[in-house]
């Protein structure tokens, strides 16, 4: 969206009615077109209006679907450019209503053209009235001078909501740092789930240099995301609920990636900012090493190089500073072997993250629950883990007793137990404890990591052990 032209702030809610009617009208129009380009155009109009949210209508200028959209113009119009913006601001006090005029003019053109071939309907007429209405409203509103700090403040706002995360690692090729984003005023931090978090103390450094301990609230091994909690109040945060839905994000729209790649920034130094466009919306088909990644849903592919060490967990924002997605871990394409620059869309992970933040996601159970009278035992399931030698020995399967429930379910030596019944079990002790909380009459669901593949198996005691 070419939103560099500046809107009046005073249009207010009087347009919301007009807006919704305009949207339904545009939807209607779209249905009637045959050409793809034309459909796209109507879509753009509609999206523009919807994306504008409560913003004044003058913001709305649909992007041209013209394929040869001049790159020169695109870059000169970039809303992040202070210099260029200054030059447009000069003219904007006079010309800011222009976008709406354009829209109206275009709508009218469309209508007049379609009348020659198609029949009129009441809806069209009504739509014209709406156009009228919106139009006159726009005449009423007085454009105000632009705030030159708009895009600079989008960067600043994003940087304030991005944190640096430090934890395990430091050995060659395993950086002990990554990035996170604040997603609640109480200090919930969304970040990538990685070995960095696999330690007792994770440090979270805020934009102002405050260094706080991050407690793991929950992790989703499928999305490879985790939520940490730090002890702060009233911090600036990204509201995931307000993030635009995936279908509202246009391919080709401008984005900023904010992350602490290469740990370039330390303490109160602001995170690095890169600019790019959404290159594609696609489903993720990626690998890490020889293994496929568990998440295969939609991602935003970006043309900026964001697959750098430490960038995972960073923010992908639009020109207004809204969170579009979270930068993913370093992955390569399964097909082309190319390093992928992508973000997990905020709207796709919103629900899972909310669960994680609320403590309801797959997580290690901290609270004491009632223990069943006849619980499962490792021996009973036929699982032999590696010797519990460390404070937090990774729960690798050492042996599987033949004919046991574990063997029947397909558990193999060297599998790493990740979760028991969707509860994280990060150590041998935690596995033994988790198994001991499940009644022998119930099934045990294990999530295993085999290589880097996640496998779910279900163990049933009854099948071989009988009623012992």
């Amino acid at each position: 969206m070419s939103t560099q032209l500046v809107a009046p702030r005073s249009l207010g809610s009087s347009t919301s009615d007009a807006r919704s009617r305009l949207v339904s009208f545009l939807t209607q129009r779209r249905r009637g077109c045959a050409e793809v380009a034309e459909k796209k155009w109507w879509d753009n109009c509609r999206n523009a209006i919807q994306n504008a949210g409560s913003a004044p209508l003058c913001y709305i200028l649909p992007e041209s679907p013209k394929p040869q959209w001049s790159s020169a113009r695109a870059s000169i119009q970039d809303p992040f450019s202070r210099t260029v913006r200054e030059s447009t601001v000069v003219g904007s006090s006079k010309s800011s209503p222009r976008p709406l005029h354009k829209l109206c003019a275009l709508c009218v053109k469309k209508l007049t053209r379609s009348t020659s071939t198609k029949t009129w309907s009441f809806r069209t007429a009504a739509a014209l009235f709406i156009l009228y209405f919106a139009f006159f409203i726009s005449l009423l509103c007085v454009p105000q001078a632009a705030s030159a700090a708009d895009s600079a403040s989008a960067i600043d706002a994003a940087q304030r909501r991005v944190v640096k995360v430090y934890g395990a690692g430091g050995a060659s090729g395993l950086e002990a740092y990554q990035t996170g984003v604040l997603i609640s005023p109480e200090g919930h931090v969304l970040t990538a789930w990685s070995y960095v978090l696999d330690t007792d103390t994770v440090a979270v450094v805020l934009h102002d240099g405050r260094r706080l301990e991050g407690k793991l609230v929950g992790a989703d091994p499928k999305l490879e995301l985790a939520v940490l909690k730090i002890d702060v109040r009233d911090v600036a945060y990204f509201d995931l609920a307000k993030s635009p839905a995936l279908d509202k994000i246009d391919v080709g729209s401008r984005v900023l990636a904010v992350s602490n790649l290469y740990n370039v920034a330390t303490g109160d130094e602001p995170a690095s900012v890169q600019r790019g466009v959404v290159a594609a919306k696609a489903s993720l088909a990626a690998r890490r090493g020889a293994y496929r990644t568990p998440y295969t849903g939609s991602v935003l592919v970006i043309d900026a190089v964001t697959n750098n060490p430490g960038a995972a967990g960073g923010a992908l924002v639009d020109s207004r500073g809204e969170l579009l997605g979270v930068l993913g871990k370093e992955l390569r394409s399964q097909e082309t072997n190319a390093w992928l620059n992508y973000a997990l869309p905020a709207s796709e992970i919103r629900a899972a993250v909310a669960e994680l933040a609320a403590g309801r996601g797959p997580r290690r159970s901290e609270e004491k629950t009632m223990r069943p009278e006849q619980p499962h035992t490792l021996a009973g399931l036929g699982l032999v883990l590696v010797p519990d030698a460390l404070p937090k020995t990774p729960p690798y399967v050492d042996r599987v007793r033949e004919g046991s429930p574990a063997a029947m379910a397909g558990v193999r030596p060297d599998d790493l137990v990740i979760m028991i019944d969707d509860q994280l079990a990060p150590s041998c002790l935690a596995v033994a404890d988790g198994i001991g909380r499940i009644d022998r009459a119930d099934k045990v669901k294990l999530t295993l990591m085999r290589g880097e593949e996640l496998i779910e198996v279900t163990l049933e005691a009854g099948t071989t052990e009988g009623g012992r």
């Binding site: 050409e35 380009a37 034309e38 041209s64 013209k66 020169a72 113009r73 000169i76 970039d78 992040f80 450019s81 202070r82 210099t83 260029v84 030059s87 447009t88 003219g91 010309s95 222009r98 005029h101 354009k102 109206c104 003019a105 275009l106 009218v108 053109k109 209508l111 007049t112 009348t115 009129w120 309907s121 069209t124 007429a125 014209l128 009235f129 156009l131 009228y132 139009f135 600079a152 940087q159 240099g209 260094r211 790649l261 290469y262 370039v264 920034a265 330390t266 303490g267 109160d268 130094e269 602001p270 995170a271 690095s272 900012v273 890169q274 600019r275 900026a304 190089v305 750098n308 060490p309």
Partner: protein, 633 residues
């Protein structure tokens, strides 16, 4: 029928509405001049005039900037990198790691397709900067230098240079991006190639871009590109490049133009983060100036060189972007008490050590290893740690011999270094070897420039051999000075001191507590009467600030009889102050010259203030000068 009628009514109504909207819209369209593009009919885009104007300006800016970009090649046309012209007479900036691979002179191509000879002028091996001079024209297109402290994250920037040596016709490649970060600190390679307070950009910087300019949107130079975070993806851009800030280079420019080998600053103390992540002194050398000025173990540094330093990196950023020898303000805190003073910055290296390292990097025709960000070290490397570099260099050579697939370093290596071509005549005329200098020829030029500006204000050549000064101290007591080539006397209320000069001036520190005022006066007179040529060893030091002034002064340094005197000349040529250093590491004796007035056709100060360390030894209000000009025969 009914249906038809209704249909008609609708049509009529719709047509009416349509007409009305169309009329109003048309009026508006005409009023706003701008016609929207109709995507379906593919009419050309009608772009608002201000956007077109901005676009045209941008194209013009890039066009001009391209002409100011230099493609640098070795003497045989091999290897190379990029650079940028900064003056009409051909001075150009590049990276040390580019020019060190080329040697004393190089070939430089401009966008006009012409190739020029260029000679090395000055180098800053720690900051990875080199100054060279293109020869053969006095009307080179050149770029203006911006104030890089005003650069902000998100600003549009563009790079211009010769990545992968693509431009066989010397026309530079332009890449565009934004500022990703400012005030970045990147660890040095050993003790060389440290990037302090640098600018991070996502504009593509690739091998061969090294030494090229980073321009702001108006085409002014904000930095010199030289480095990127490359380690994981092979040697190509990953959207993380670094440019040396132009404000750092400005601080070194005087020394670079003076043909020197420049060293960067340390405090003589190391800092680490305290529990609040503030920079806390965790070790300090007792012989450092910082210690003399009162900085102690456990003190928290609040500000350095006028910049607030809230973290260890911030301290490193300031030190790494300042030259050795500068005197800068420092603010530190101890148990709630705040101290403000000025500290003289020490050098990262001993002089001989730096020369050896430069030698190793330059004569080793191999390009230096690419700078790689090192693991964070808590302390600044001690000077002797830098000795690793010469040991490492041959290893690189060995690797090459083993037939490894050659990587593309910054700069690109020559395929084979052919027989060294002879130095062209015009280069030879502007090149002079002298130990401790990159190119002594340029030092002489700068020294002449400074002295000419001073001498233009009146010559002391014909003054008497003996000078007398009568003045009054702050407490209105009398002060008498008499000094000549052979001896000097100071008659002060505290004591009468007299010195006969021998070859060893360092032995004379009289009067007591002044740090050698009589020797200083003697050397001052000597420079004024004899000029730098006959004084003995006088060279151009570079530029440095003096306490209490923002403007940089030109500094001449004279070495005589085991002592070193530094003379600070303000922009107009006036001598502001001088410092006398003996080699025992104590505070120098400073004489501040003020309230210049005409006296027998000579400009002489009416105020002499003698300072040492933090205190004032004597402030003399001059009542009478006797420097009687000898009558010409």
């Amino acid at each position: 029928m009914r249906v038809l009628w209704r249909d008609k009514a609708v049509r009529l109504f719709a047509a009416g509405s349509c007409l009305a909207v169309a009329v109003v819209s048309c009026a508006l369209i005409v009023a706003s001049v701008v016609l929207a593009d109709d995507p379906v009919t593919n009419k050309p885009l009608d772009v608002p005039a201000d956007v077109l104007e901005a676009e045209a300006k941008r194209v013009a800016v890039i066009d001009a900037a391209r002409n100011r970009t230099v493609a640098i090649f070795g003497q045989g046309g091999q290897g190379g990198g990029s650079g940028v012209l900064i003056s009409a007479d051909g001075y150009a900036l590049s990276n040390f790691h580019v020019t060190s691979a080329c040697g004393d002179w190089m070939k430089c191509g401009l966008a006009d397709g012409k190739l020029y000879d260029a000679v090395i002028v000055g180098i800053d091996p720690v900051g990875d900067v080199a100054l060279l001079k293109l020869l053969g024209r006095d009307d080179f297109p050149h770029a203006e230098l911006a104030d890089s402290d005003t650069v902000r994250v998100g600003d549009w920037v563009f790079c211009s240079g010769n990545p992968f040596l693509l431009a066989t016709d010397f026309k530079p490649t332009v890449t565009y991006g934004i500022v990703s970060g400012v005030g970045r600190y990147q660890y040095p390679d050993g003790t060389l190639l440290e990037y302090a307070d640098c600018i991070q950009t996502d504009a593509a910087i690739n091998p061969g871009n090294s030494g090229g300019p980073l321009f702001d949107a108006t085409g002014k130079v904000i930095g010199i590109n030289g480095r990127g975070s490359f380690e994981k993806r092979g040697r190509v851009n990953v959207g993380v490049g670094y440019a040396i800030s132009i404000n750092q280079i400005k601080r070194f420019m005087g020394q670079l133009r003076g043909g020197r080998i420049v060293d960067h600053a340390t405090l003589g103390a190391t800092v680490s983060s305290d529990d609040q992540w503030r920079p806390r002194v965790d070790s300090i050398l007792e012989e450092s100036d910082a210690y003399h000025r009162g900085l102690r173990y456990d003190d928290i540094i609040e500000s350095l060189a006028g910049r607030r330093v809230a973290s260890v990196n911030a301290v490193k950023n300031v030190l790494g972007s300042h030259p050795k020898g500068w005197r800068v303000p420092i603010v530190f805190r101890r148990e709630g008490q705040r101290f403000e003073t000025h500290v003289r910055l020490a050098g990262v290296h001993r002089e001989a050590e730096l020369l050896a390292m430069v030698q190793a990097a330059t004569t080793d025709a191999q390009p230096p290893r690419r700078p790689e960000p090192k693991k964070p070290e808590p302390k600044k490397p001690e000077p002797n740690e830098g000795e690793k570099k010469p040991e490492d260099a041959p290893k690189d050579g060995e690797k090459k011999g083993e037939g490894d697939k050659p990587k593309i370093p910054l700069p690109l290596p020559g395929i084979a270094v052919p027989k060294k071509p002879a130095m062209p005549e015009d280069v030879r005329r502007q090149y002079e070897v002298r130990s401790g200098y990159t190119n002594y020829h340029f030092n002489k030029l700068e020294r002449e420039r400074v002295w000419k500006a001073f001498a233009a204000r009146g010559s002391f050549e014909r003054t008497a051999a003996k000078w007398n000064v009568k003045g009054m101290l702050a407490d209105e007591s009398l002060a008498l000075f008499e000094f000549s080539e052979q001896e000097a006397t100071a008659d002060l209320p505290a004591a009468l001191s007299r010195v006969k000069f021998t070859n060893d001036l360092a032995a004379n520190r009289d009067p007591e507590g002044s740090g050698g005022l009589l020797v200083a006066l003697h050397l001052w007179q000597r420079l004024l009467r004899l000029g730098p040529e006959k004084f003995g060893q006088v060279s151009y030091w570079g530029t440095a600030p003096v306490v209490g002034q923002k403007e940089l002064c030109d500094v001449l340094v004279g070495v005589q009889g085991g002592v070193e005197a530094r003379f600070y000349f303000a922009a107009g040529g006036e001598l502001v102050t001088m410092e006398l250093f003996t080699d025992d590491g104590t505070d120098p004796c400073e004489i501040w010259f003020g309230e210049y007035q005409e006296h027998d056709g000579l400009r002489l100060p009416r105020r002499l203030e003698v300072r040492r360390g933090d205190g004032v030894f004597a402030a003399v209000k001059v009542q009478e000068w006797r420097v009687a000009v000898e009558k010409s025969p």
